[in-house]
């Protein structure tokens, strides 16, 4: 099974791929560490200072900030590893090379990411945002409504960031999945995921919108000045759309269209008859349905074509078999008895030696019997000489070469015996080519038959130095050769130049 991947991987994929190869066994831990430091150094403090203007003037900023950071540190160092490492254990074990069910790993890397991220987000919303709001509200005389709505706005921003981590982790696990793909059972069906294409995309834009809305309107609260407010609104909106929104929509559209282009590639290659191509199953959404349909289709096409090929090969050998049966029957059931008739007529002829008239008649009878015998002999010798069955292709072709009307040389480098059907196909093809050469090459031409083999194939070539001919006009005989050789899984090429460089028929069959 071959799995298609886009020819030009996205820069992000390349980056992750490289880091995956560099980090190896510690990949999951390293990314947890990186996410943790991203949260602690960037996301968490940014959220605090973005929301700070919204809480209104007055009050202390330093104490709430320290409390918030302390909570964030606690969650990131204690809660997050505890939440994440359990579900991701199969991936960790897979990376360490331990025995683990590949389906488990797949589920951990695809299905569990949203759940882990949701749990982590909830931890930050409750254990992080609530203490922060309590500390903020204490010095600003918050009412209950202020607390609730303040927490709501903070949680909108936290959740948006949480979804961002879903997407980034999905990309991060892609190199693992790529390695995992060949290990999955061929009938692996991921089942339906809740995170369908449209939901994924809707969640992405919802989180980008929510983040922008909450952050921008909180930032404009910092000023009462009309010009400054407008400036903040415009710049913060563009900034948020380009940075957070841009990354999030970029990731989502990448995760969708990377797979669409995989489907395109797979279809192109199946069209080029690479039927073993399969598309990786990635997330259990609509695109996976399409991927599984494509895989089913490829299997069906592969099976159909194999069936027709096998049937063609069987038919070709059935025809050969019938032919041999006929030759044998003619020899055993007719020739032997006819010979007896001839012998007996011979005896009667001796008996009638004195009656010259009858004696002559006996001679005529014997001659007619001999003619019939010759006729049958000619037919039962048929296409295949006895040498082919008895001593193989080389001997048969040597005998044929000796009979051919133009001088023919056989060069065979120890081809030996192989499957009978293939031997007869090659013999048929070479014989046909030699007869063509004798017919079309013209006076003074010579022909050469070459046979050789390697581990996988038997090669043959019949070349003459005669006139050559125009290939267009004489399809039938050439087509027969091609059919016979292709029926046993080989191929044949016929080159003829009408300008006098001769004709060459060359091909191969599987050894």
């Amino acid at each position: 099974m071959l799995t298609v991947t886009s020819e030009e991987p996205h820069w992000l994929d390349r980056l992750y791929e490289r880091s995956y190869r560099r980090l190896g066994k510690r990949y999951v831990e390293a990314w947890l560490l990186l996410s943790a430091s991203g949260i602690l150094l960037l996301a968490w403090p940014t959220q605090f200072w973005t929301l700070h203007p919204l809480w209104g003037p007055g009050g202390d900023a330093v104490r709430p900030f320290l409390v918030t950071m302390a909570c964030g540190l606690l969650i990131t160092l204690v809660l997050m590893p505890w939440i994440a490492l359990g579900p991701f254990r199969p991936i960790v074990r897979f990376l360490r090379g331990e025995e683990v069910d590949p389906r488990e790993v797949w589920h951990a890397a695809v299905r569990r990411v949203p759940r882990v991220s949701a749990t982590c987000t909830a931890a930050y919303c409750f254990a992080g945002n609530i203490p922060c709001l309590i500390e903020v509200g204490r010095s600003r005389d918050f009412t209950l409504g202020d607390y609730v709505s303040g927490w709501l706005v903070a949680s909108i921003i936290t959740s948006a960031a949480g979804f961002f981590f879903v997407l980034i982790w999905e990309v991060a696990f892609r190199p693992v999945l790529r390695e995992l793909q060949p290990l999955l059972p061929p009938d692996f069906a991921p089942g339906r995921s809740w995170l369908t294409l449209s939901r994924r995309s809707a969640l992405a834009s919802a989180s980008a919108m929510a983040y922008t809305g909450a952050a921008v309107s909180s930032l404009v609260s910092a000023t009462a000045d009309r010009e400054v407010a407008l400036g903040i609104a415009v710049l913060a909106t563009i900034g948020s759309a380009v940075s957070f929104g841009g990354i999030i929509t970029g990731l989502v559209s990448h995760s969708i269209f990377m797979r669409v282009s995989e489907l395109t590639l797979a279809l192109d290659r199946i069209g080029r008859r690479e039927h073993s191509i399969r598309v990786a199953v990635r997330a259990g959404d609509e695109l996976d349905e399409a991927a599984m349909s494509l895989n089913r289709m490829a299997e069906r096409i592969e099976a159909d074509e194999d069936a027709v090929r096998a049937s063609r090969a069987r038919l070709a050998s059935i025809a050969d078999g019938e032919r041999q049966r006929m030759e044998r029957d003619l020899r055993r059931r007719v020739m032997v008895r006819l010979q007896r008739v001839a012998d007996e007529v011979g005896q009667v002829e001796e008996q009638l030696a004195q009656r010259s008239e009858l004696h002559r008649l006996c001679g005529t009878v014997r001659a007619t019997v001999a003619a019939a015998e010759e006729e049958i002999q000619r037919l039962s010798a048929g296409v295949y000489p006895a040498e082919l069955t008895a001593s193989g292709l080389e001997a048969a072709l040597a005998a044929t070469a000796a009979r051919t009307a133009i001088p023919t040389e056989l060069r065979a480098a120890g081809v030996g015996r192989f499957d009978h059907t293939r031997e007869s196909s090659v013999y048929f093809c070479c014989n046909e080519a030699l007869q063509n050469a004798a017919k079309h090459a013209g006076a003074g031409a010579t022909a050469e038959v070459r046979l050789s083999r390697d581990d996988a194939r038997i090669y043959f070539e019949v070349a003459d130095d005669g006139h050559g001919f125009d290939l267009g006009g004489r399809g039938r005989g050439l087509e027969n050769m091609r059919d016979r050789i292709r029926a046993v899984g080989g191929d044949v090429t016929i080159v003829s130049a009408a300008d006098g460089h001769g004709t060459s028929v060359s091909g191969w069959v599987p050894a």
Binding site: S198, A202, G213
Partner: protein
């Protein structure tokens, strides 16, 4: 040559959204008929001046006045839109989509042009219309507001930028509406497109998704900030929470609908087409309907199906050619035997007759010649049987029925023939059917049993020949499987199919073959 549009799988929320949208669009089209595009333009005009422009500026008023006191500014913008929107739509949008109008009104129109009007030209139309329109309405409106609110140059720049950002989102929204509304027409026209049609839109699906999301973010950011400015500092967290969630809910619906129509629908279509090929239907094609990545998938799919068809046909042809060659060889051998060896043997028989009658005076020799004649006639009979087995001469001359009768006469088992065929079938088909029956008789003949019967029935139905072969009792397992394979190969090579049904008493082979 069609691909079903209905998603085969329940695609969750997106599926429902798509269907509801489709149903709505279909109803609107049916109601407006040839005035569909005009109707679309007029409703856009009404919606722009009565809904989207007032709503857009309502969120901007607090930026200018620190509150919602000056309602009349919203009215001024609405009035400007009411005047300018019809002009824009009639002078810019309508002329750019003339082919579409012609198509709708039943006039002659190049399908390629109509398709472009519905698909690739839309984003540029949206860009042109919205920039000209926003320059006019927003520019004039802001001058009116700025005069009364004492704007400085910075205020003008800030206010105009904020308005422009919101407008990007609104324009994206209208673009999406038009795409969904014109999709059925694009799909209808796609049937008449040339087969090598491969237009790609600037707005690929990937770019569309990114653009729409960015546009919505612009809108949400500036609207949320504007609304937040309109409320006092106390209680502002509540306003921010409500406004943000409200805006998100509003626009997520639009986003869902877009993804449903431009991504999920296409993926479902692709799955359907792939499933169709997987279940053996090769006539499926995917029509281009957006000039994006999914059209590229569709093109790859169509190309693949074509190539596979060609290849499968070539393989089948090669198979039937092999059989034809084998059959022709058999016929040739039979003819050679008949014209050569059998004629010779007849001559021998005649000469032996002469010899026997000449030998009256030599009774001993006469007796031997008589014995030789007897032996020769056995050889002749043997020859005839063999030649018949190779290729019955009657098959070509008189047809399947008489060849089968001869085969049945010669067979060692009980054969009953039931032939209801008037016409001659194609020669290759007659040979295939004959040799299948012959093979059955041969194999049954090898089984040592007394009460074997074979029943052969031939009928025809239109262009299909129906062959029914019953063997009682059934052949031993390995013979049976072998025979079934043979029948399938032989009849498959002439395009037939074979079904095997075993029952208590024996086994029946039913075959359908195209007879011409």
């Amino acid at each position: 040559m069609s691909s079903s549009a209905a998603p085969q799988v329940e695609a969750g929320a997106s599926g429902r959204v798509t269907m509801r949208l489709d149903a709505f669009v279909a109803r609107a089209r049916a109601a407006m008929g040839q005035w569909y595009f005009h109707g679309l333009l007029i409703s856009t005009g009404i919606f722009v001046s009565w809904v989207s422009t007032p709503y857009q500026n309502l969120t901007q008023v607090p930026f200018w006045t620190h509150g919602f006191g000056q309602w009349r500014y919203v009215g001024v913008f609405g009035l400007l839109a009411f005047v300018s929107a019809p002009l824009m739509l009639a002078l810019v949008l309508y002329p750019r989509h003339r082919s579409l109008v012609a198509h709708l009104r039943g006039r002659e129109a190049d399908p390629v042009e109509v398709w472009r009007d519905c698909v690739t030209r839309l984003p540029i139309s949206a860009a042109v219309v919205s920039s000209v329109w926003s320059g006019f309405t927003i520019g004039l409106g802001l001058v009116y507001v700025g005069r009364r609110e004492h704007f400085t140059a910075t205020t003008y720049v800030g206010a105009y930028s904020s308005e422009a950002l919101v407008t990007v989102g609104v324009a994206a929204f209208y673009l999406m509406i038009y795409e969904v509304a014109l999709l059925p027409i694009a799909r209808e026209v796609a049937l008449q497109l040339p087969p090598d049609f491969a237009d790609t839109a600037v707005m690929s699906a990937r770019r569309r998704l990114v653009f729409l999301n960015t546009a919505i973010i612009f809108t949400v950011g500036c609207q949320a900030a504007g609304l937040a400015m309109g409320f006092s500092q106390a209680g502002r967290p509540l306003v921010v929470a409500v406004v943000t969630l409200g805006l998100v809910c509003t626009y997520v619906g639009a986003q869902l609908a877009l993804v449903a129509s431009s991504v999920s629908r296409r993926v479902a279509e692709l799955s359907d087409a792939l499933n169709a090929v997987a279940s053996g239907r090769h006539a499926v094609r995917i029509r281009p309907s957006s000039g994006d990545e999914f059209d590229a998938v569709g093109r790859s799919f169509n190309r693949m199906v074509d190539l596979l068809d060609d290849h499968a046909q070539e393989l089948r042809r090669s198979r039937s050619r092999l059989i034809e060659v084998a059959d022709a060889t058999r016929r040739l051998i039979e003819r050679d035997l008949h014209d050569g060896a059998q004629q010779n043997l007849a001559l021998v028989s005649m000469q032996l007759g002469q010899l026997e009658s000449g030998c009256r005076a030599e009774p001993e020799a006469a007796e031997r010649v008589h014995a030789i004649r007897a032996e020769l006639s056995e050889v002749v009979a043997e020859m005839r049987a063999l030649a018949h087995g190779i290729y019955p001469a009657s098959l070509e001359a008189e047809g399947l029925t008489s060849a089968l009768r001869a085969a049945a006469r010669e067979s060692e088992v009980m054969v009953s023939l039931d032939v209801a065929v008037r016409k001659r079938w194609d020669h290759a088909v007659e040979s295939a059917v004959y040799f299948c029956c012959w093979e059955v008789l041969q194999r049954v003949g090898q089984v040592e049993s007394d009460d074997l019967t074979v029943r052969i029935g031939l009928t025809e139905d239109g262009g299909t020949g129906l062959v029914d072969i019953r063997v009682q009792p059934a052949l031993p397992e390995e013979h049976g499987a072998d025979l079934e394979q043979y029948l399938q190969d032989r009849l498959g090579a002439v395009g037939g199919t074979v079904a095997t049904t075993p029952d208590d008493h024996g086994v029946a082979y039913h075959a359908d073959v195209p007879t011409c």
